[in-house]
């Protein structure tokens, strides 16, 4: 324990630097995934048959292990940051799309009917009613994607992408437990922190969208 703390103290720049790299990689992949998946979900709702196709493909693609995706990205982009980013983006895209899409589709149909009935255009209904109400579901997908991306980013170390995985690998190679933990603990901590904060955000959004419940008449 003491050795661990000493290590962190002596190498704080290194650890922070790697953590920063790690976060950058995760955040970029998640953000890119969001940027692609969110419009995909909207398109999927506007064009139902296309949406079903997307969903079917996404469900299958979800099954492919992340390390395999990483491996398959290498022949395309070489090693380093690029294939890691590609793998991360693809893996983030899937849960965000699926959650956003299902979230939109599972909205109470009477809300859509009321919106249509008062004369909202499709776009107005989407922007004012459907998207705000499906936000908790979308954030749920974002949460899954973000947490997973921390994990995948640790793998980036294998292909020269940097991040906290570097410390873990060094620790394994040098049989240095301290170094190993110096990579593993921050990585785990990051994942937990992201999960807890996004879960809190999701709960807050659910409260704000106030599911309609019947009080006693």
């Amino acid at each position: 324990m003491q050795a661990f703390i000493d290590f962190l103290a002596d190498n704080s720049n290194l650890v922070l630097g790697l953590a920063g790299q790690h976060l950058l990689l995760s955040a970029s992949g998640t953000a890119l995934g969001l940027a692609i998946a969110f419009p995909m979900a909207v398109v999927g709702v506007l064009l139902p048959r296309l949406g079903q196709g997307f969903a079917a493909v996404a469900n299958v693609a979800q099954t492919v292990p992340s390390f395999a995706v990483l491996g398959l990205a290498i022949p395309l982009l070489g090693i380093g940051f690029a294939p890691a980013l590609l793998a991360l983006t693809l893996r983030a895209l899937l849960p965000i799309f699926l959650n956003a899409y299902v979230g939109l589709r599972e909205l109470d149909p009477s809300l859509r009917e009321a919106a249509k009935g008062i004369g909202m255009t499709r776009w107005q209904s989407l922007v004012q009613i459907e998207l705000p109400l499906s936000l908790p579901a979308t954030v749920g997908g974002l949460r899954t994607a973000a947490v997973e991306s921390i994990g995948i980013a640790t793998l980036a170390a294998f292909i020269g992408g940097g991040g906290l995985g570097d410390l873990i690998l060094q620790g394994i190679a040098l049989r240095d437990t301290t170094r190993l933990l110096a990579g593993a603990i921050p990585a785990a901590a990051l994942a937990i922190a992201i999960e807890l904060s996004l879960a809190a955000l999701q709960r807050h959004l659910v409260r704000r969208t106030h599911r309609v419940a019947r009080a006693a008449d």
Partner: protein, 322 residues
């Protein structure tokens, strides 16, 4: 002056299976028209064709003389109020924002929208100071539907469509809401088309009733016409269960009375047979049935309804259809 609403041979089929066939009827300005009929008769489909939530397969619908098919559906719907059974209040918006929703999409500035929303909330019996900022989830079912009605009124449409608006609410609250609707309609003089499966509701609210069966109009007319001049055995049978109560309410007591005066409870000249029965029921238990005096002011014409004639009136209402 064209009718507020006119349907001309309107039909709807889904893949060859007809749901609504050749429906024709009119609704005058300021009238409340109820569309009734057994389950599956196409009444909701017919209603939804008026604001083109569902597009007709054939026929024409004229809203204030204009062919609805020629108007942009979004613009059409902004001119027509729409209240649905499940209410459909937007849960992430406050009550006042819900009511103001129509005005927001037609570009009214915020202050104006909210002022109008508050006015509408007052109209439906929800004091704005108390209710405007609340969320729909904090309201009871009856209150939510009042907000739904307020939302439909916000854009000041001349025509309002209601699809079984009070069906999801418990009977006591339903009665209150029906009263409110009657009052609101009297105040605002809107034209209302109202789908319901509750016959007493239709008869108590509507000036005009359209009876549908398997997608076709069986009879369209005033409540009295339906009760006392049914167009077919189906109409009589359909009204049969509710006939007694409805009949008593629509039959004028003085039609069974003779001119004269007597000692007994008094009811107004226009009172129905039901009013007479209720007046008698209000007296204390144990008293014998007495004649009932019908008349308004001292000096005006008076009639007396003797117990035997009252019984005849009731039997007349309850008798099975010929």
């Amino acid at each position: 002056m064209p009718d507020a609403l006119h349907l001309d041979a309107v039909s709807k089929s889904y893949g060859g299976a007809p749901v609504v066939s050749d429906v024709t009827f009119s609704v005058g300005a300021g009238e409340l028209c109820a569309i009734v009929g057994p389950s599956g008769c196409g009444k909701t489909t017919t209603l939804k064709m008026i604001n083109r939530i569902i597009e007709p397969s054939a026929g024409r619908i004229y809203v204030e003389g204009e062919d609805a098919a020629a108007i942009d559906p979004v613009q059409l719907r902004r001119r027509i109020g729409y209240v649905i059974q499940q209410v459909g209040l937007f849960p992430h918006m406050s009550v006042e924002d819900n009511v103001a929703a129509v005005l927001r999409i037609t570009g009214h500035p915020r202050a104006q929208r909210l002022a109008r929303a508050h006015a509408m909330l007052g109209l439906v019996g929800l004091p704005p100071l108390e209710y405007a900022r609340r969320r729909p989830s904090a309201l009871s079912g009856g209150q939510q539907q009042r907000v739904g009605v307020a939302r439909a009124l916000a854009g000041d449409p001349d025509l309002i469509l209601m699809d079984e608006p009070f069906a999801a609410v418990d009977p006591v609250v339903r009665k209150q809401l029906q009263e409110e609707l009657r009052r609101i309609q009297a105040e605002t003089r809107k034209t209302i088309v109202f789908v319901t499966h509750d016959l007493p509701e239709a008869f108590s609210l509507a000036n005009r009733i359209v009876v549908l069966r398997e997608g076709r109009v069986v009879q369209a007319g005033t409540p009295e016409e339906l009760l006392f001049a049914p167009a077919s055995p189906f109409v009589s049978a359909y009204l049969a269960e509710s006939r007694e109560l409805l009949g008593l309410r629509f039959m004028k007591a003085r039609e069974f009375a003779r001119m004269g005066d007597a000692e007994g409870p008094t009811v107004p000249a226009e009172a129905s047979v039901l009013d007479v029965v209720q007046a008698l029921a209000r007296r204390s238990v144990g008293q014998q049935l007495s004649p009932v005096v019908i008349g308004d002011e001292a000096g005006g014409p008076r009639w007396v309804l003797e117990p035997p004639d009252l019984v005849r009136a009731i039997v007349g209402a309850v008798a099975p259809p010929r």
